[in-house]
């Protein structure tokens, strides 16, 4: 069997003290080695496993032939965010799961190959890139303006697909930087922000008109935009509202939602305070409640900010954690502690209103619940005090009503997210939606998948309207 391409990581010392990207990705020779391991199966099960419909077999073949430009062009036919997806997609559940070599436990490392192609292109100077503009005359429906609300993964993907179809696409973002969760949520050491910036530059180079600091629903309403000639809308504003634990002491100083903690650190760059002005206050002993990717981003940030002891506190066991295995392993390597089968009951205060500990109770696993995971059952009398001075709550989010409460006639589902049909169309015929504001907290790639489907539906809608 051919030898695998090898991935290196930066040193553990650097990982614990800096926000540098942990994984170095493939070198050129390792990428070629890996690409040449691909069997090029006729059925290409890898492509069927890709939610963004990337022609995986084709781009791997091009890397094997050292045609990197060809490879990245092939990926970008379907995915405007290859540098992002190559890093944060759970490939082990998608393209790599369906790879025929996975049967022997060694699938092609498709994510790292996608990242290699994307990074290769970003290193080339702009003028070497192929000209993407076309000057074909516009059809009637292409003259319509489309508003894409939210410049996260869903919004960017939808805007890119629509602008490629020749539409006049405006992308509105509430924050001062584009990227959504890619910039406020996912830390630099997993996804360097210059990658997001450059992929956003690419989307703008396709012709998308970008409007930062614009809160649709507040700065202007959907109705206001309709009166300015916008004929279709895509809402991809993310899930938004942080959930808390609903236990006493949750508003004490030293309790953060994961969103607040990560936004301070990542978007506002509090890890470089006081060079950047936004502060973060972190204690010596940090406990992060939750077991998803966000919880792991929080523990690994807390460690890098100088906390002496950082734990994941999770109510089930490692097997039930929703986080990617790769993230769990990274955290273990970096010395993160795991408090499993533990649930919080009350945050304790010192005489200054700061956190001085958390009363927790031990759990055991019972019967499976509706999610199929075994339900945590508290063990009576097993309470103990977890010795921590900073609490980060990473137990998910719920629907942010800021925009959706300002739109008349928009039906919501029972969780408060936007209800859509199989074509991503909402109860308001000119409004389409995708990503976490439809599905609740999910992955970057599932948001992209819905956004691409919505882009197709918007095209059909506008064609039938013209």
């Amino acid at each position: 069997m051919k030898e695998k391409g090898h991935i290196t990581k930066i040193s553990l010392d650097e990982r614990k003290t800096t926000f540098k990207e942990v994984s170095c990705g493939f070198t050129e020779s390792e990428a070629i080695k890996e690409a040449r391991r691909c069997l090029g199966c006729k059925a290409a099960p890898c492509s069927k496993g890709c939610p963004a419909d990337i022609d995986v077999r084709a781009f791997i073949g091009l890397i094997a032939e050292k045609d990197y430009q060809g490879a990245i062009d092939k990926i970008k036919e379907n995915n405007a965010l290859p540098g992002v997806c190559g890093r944060v997609c759970p490939q082990e559940e998608q393209c790599q799961l369906t790879c025929i070599l996975n049967k022997k436990g060694d699938p092609i490392q498709i994510g790292y190959l996608e990242r290699f192609a994307a990074d290769w292109e970003l290193e080339q100077t702009i003028d070497q890139r192929p000209e993407t503009k076309d000057n074909k005359p516009k059809t009637e429906d292409q003259k319509f303006k489309i508003a894409v609300v939210g410049a996260g993964p869903a919004g960017i993907a939808c805007a890119a697909d629509l602008v490629k179809q020749g539409y006049d696409v405006h992308l509105f973002e509430a924050l001062h930087k584009p990227g959504g969760v890619l910039v406020y949520g996912i830390p630099e050491f997993r996804l360097p922000k210059n990658i997001v910036d450059k992929e956003m530059e690419y989307v703008q180079s396709l012709g998308v008109k970008y409007h930062p600091n614009f809160i649709v629903g507040r700065t202007k309403t959907i109705d206001g935009l309709r009166s300015e000639g916008f004929r279709a809308f895509f809402i991809g504003v993310g899930a938004g509202l942080p959930r808390f634990l609903n236990i006493p002491g949750e508003n004490l100083n030293g309790v953060y939602s994961a969103n607040e903690f990560l936004t301070r650190v990542n978007l506002m760059k509090a890890y470089r305070f006081p060079e950047y002005d936004t502060p973060i206050s972190i204690g010596k002993r940090v406990g992060v409640f939750g077991g998803g990717n966000v919880a792991f981003d929080c523990v690994r940030c807390a460690l890098r900010l100088g906390a002496k002891h950082v734990s994941i506190v999770y109510r089930r066991t490692r097997d039930e954690m929703p986080a990617r295995n790769e993230e769990i392993e990274n955290a273990e390597e970096e010395g993160i502690d795991f408090e499993i089968l533990v649930a919080p009951k009350e945050v304790l205060s010192d005489d200054q209103g700061n956190v001085k500990g958390v009363v927790c109770i031990k759990n055991e696993l019972g019967e499976p619940d509706s999610s199929g995971r075994r339900r945590p059952v508290p063990i009576e009398g097993s309470e103990f005090v977890l010795d921590i001075d900073t609490v980060i709550v990473a137990v998910g989010t719920s629907a942010n009503p800021l925009l959706i409460s300002t739109v008349k006639g928009l039906e919501l589902n029972k969780w408060g997210y936007i209800a859509t049909d199989e074509k991503c169309q909402t109860s308001a015929s000119d409004i389409f939606a995708g990503g976490d504001i439809v599905s609740g907290s999910a992955t970057v790639i599932s948001a992209i998948q819905q956004a691409k489907l919505a882009a197709k539906s918007i095209k059909e809608y506008l064609q039938s309207a013209s």
């Binding site: 509430a174 001062h176 614009f214 809160i215 700065t219 100083n253 607040e260 936004t263 002005d277 209103g353």
Partner: protein
Amino acid sequence: MKIVYKKVLSDTKEARIVELRFESSTIASSVEPGQFILLMASACGERVPLTVVDSDPKKGILTIIFQEIGYSTKLLGSLETGDLLYSVVGPLGHATPIENYGKILIVGGGVGIAEILPIVRAFKEGGNHITTILGAKTKDHMILQDEIGQYSDELILTTDDGGLGEKGFVSGPLAKILEKDSDFGLVYCVGPVPMMKVVSNVTKPYNIKTIVCLNAIMLDGTGMCGSCRLTEDGKIKFCCVDGPDFDGHLVDFDELMQRQKRFLKEEAQALRKLHECKLKAQIKE
């Protein structure tokens, strides 16, 4: 977002109060009384929430007034006419519902007096009879008494040292007024949190609806982070999307005051690094 006007309203040795006007046409045409913006002075800056004190939709100009109390407000105060702001987003928060309550009392303290101006004007236009009480530390700390006075049927000033108006805090004249006549439909109050707490305590026995305008520590301002959470009637609320107006009789002021201290240590650290020349270099960047 170019600054078109700057005026120092109060220049005492503790902290200046500064008025800035800047271009922001979209917000100027949609903002309503009580709403705020989030502003970044530089690319490295904090997102600072500030109430819109005035707006000129025709010229596309917004007015803000702030006290140079911390690092970011000092940075903002160092900007001059012609300088550019890095980012401005809004309008945020719910506008204050303007109704005809008959007689209302409006109470402002410190730099919070600035936030009174759009409110008193709107309530006056809404047909209310307005008694306004403004409190400041000294005569030199008092701002906007003429502007606010023109919309008030009665204006009472207080200073801690008695150098202007009555000596003492706003709660003094407030209590006296209510003892004589408690027939007010609303008390609206903006100022330091301890002042809003005291005012709410004074009005509570009379059961007069009391709105306080709160300014908790914010980050994104769109409900995403929960930094500005506070407790009203035992429930968690977010100042940015549920407020900024809250029921003064139901807010947990002690918790709010505690949470305002979250970053005191870091704030002191930021102030230490503050040097005028560095600021200027940063802004020009």
